[in-house]
Symmetry: C2
Subunit: 226 residues, 2 copies
């Protein structure tokens, strides 16, 4: 029997690569996306395209209203997305986002059942979010195995973050080798409704630099004024 895996799928470059890696490792993949009040909901359409291309067994999108709490440029229209590099944790950080996402993935995994959860966080070419670091992933795995029936009575959960120590260029090279079509993905924090990228935000800058470093053509579709 093929093992099941839940893969968090934002529709961006990293999560698409993570899904390709999970599939390549032989897992039957269940993709989980979130409509969390983000500005860049074009990424949800991208997540659907990627899930289809990768042949996932099921793709669910959970609606949750993080915009009600605000506190981030990604969920609060009153906070502008920065277009220049910043120091420290940037205003695009969404409070407790990955904790909430992984908590939902854990609930689905326990019922499905799946014991392997994949998340495409990266702590190298990244925006400096605290919930993208190895210590956070390890702490969540520990929590998952203390707080669930499956963790207490069964084999327990493994949280896979296969990209965490990779550069953006390494991620891109790996994904291309596994058949990822990056033209389907959207990384931009403020993509327009068609998924065209701004070319100026942190996510756009990291992505563009990754394609250059990887030495491969960048399939990103930019907005006319980008």
């Amino acid at each position: 029997m093929t093992d099941h895996a839940i893969v968090l799928l934002s529709g961006g470059l990293d999560s698409a690569t993570t899904l390709a890696l999970a599939r390549d490792q032989g897992y039957e993949c269940f993709a989980l996306s979130f409509a969390y009040g983000q500005r860049h909901d074009a990424e949800l359409a991208a997540a659907g395209r990627v899930a289809t291309q990768m042949g996932v067994r099921e793709h669910r999108t959970v609606a949750l209203d993080l915009a009600a709490f605000g506190g981030s440029a990604l969920t609060d229209p009153a906070i502008a997305v920065p277009t220049a590099p910043s120091t420290g944790i940037p205003v695009t950080y969404v409070p407790a986002r990955n904790t909430i996402f992984l908590a939902y993935a854990l609930a689905w995994a326990e019922v499905l059942p799946a014991r392997d959860l994949f998340i495409g966080v990266n702590a190298i070419d990244y925006s400096g979010y605290p919930d993208c670091r190895p210590a956070f992933i390890e702490a969540f795995e520990r929590l998952a195995n203390l707080g669930t029936r499956a963790g207490v009575e069964g084999d327990g959960f493994c949280i896979h973050a296969p990209l965490i120590h990779w550069s953006k260029a390494e991620i891109i090279r790996c994904g291309l080798a596994l058949g990822v079509d990056y033209g389907l993905t959207v990384s931009c924090y403020q993509a327009d409704d068609t998924g065209a990228a701004c070319g100026r935000c942190d996510a756009c800058r990291l992505r563009a630099a990754g394609f250059i470093e990887a030495g491969v053509p960048d399939p990103t579709r930019y907005a006319p004024d980008a």
Copy 2:
């Protein structure tokens, strides 16, 4: 300035007592409830009554669809609520529920800001849920301080579980001393629309035994056929 605290408020006996304790410790309290697809949504009405009686600064109810994942007698109508004691973790366990609840509380706390989160879990007179144990609470606090801006840059979060080592009778005596009106609360897993209790489920049995042991009148309103 008064410190803010977020208190998870289900509308049951334990969370009402926890709110009273947080208020008694001088916190300005913000109550957080969840409409998670539970059978016993009469408890949400109870949460509203308790929040008002306790004079919280704000009471929010977040809708989240745990019933979409199922896997519990509390969220899946096809799984009956047991009316006799069971061994092990019972079918009323909701996968990853407290992980999800605390994750939302953390998001709100970070934005508010509040650094103190209160949850009325109890590991003595309880149903045996893994996410009610001290090790789970400690693991969540660790996660919270690794995965947030406030944890990394600021003073960090404290997860308070003041009832965790108390008997139900001790909880009731403490709550009465702090002015809790247990007639407002609903503990039953399958209360009817008016909040009347079944008298037979695990939650009803634990609650009734607590009032007897505490030696005080039980204000619970039972359904006619209870």
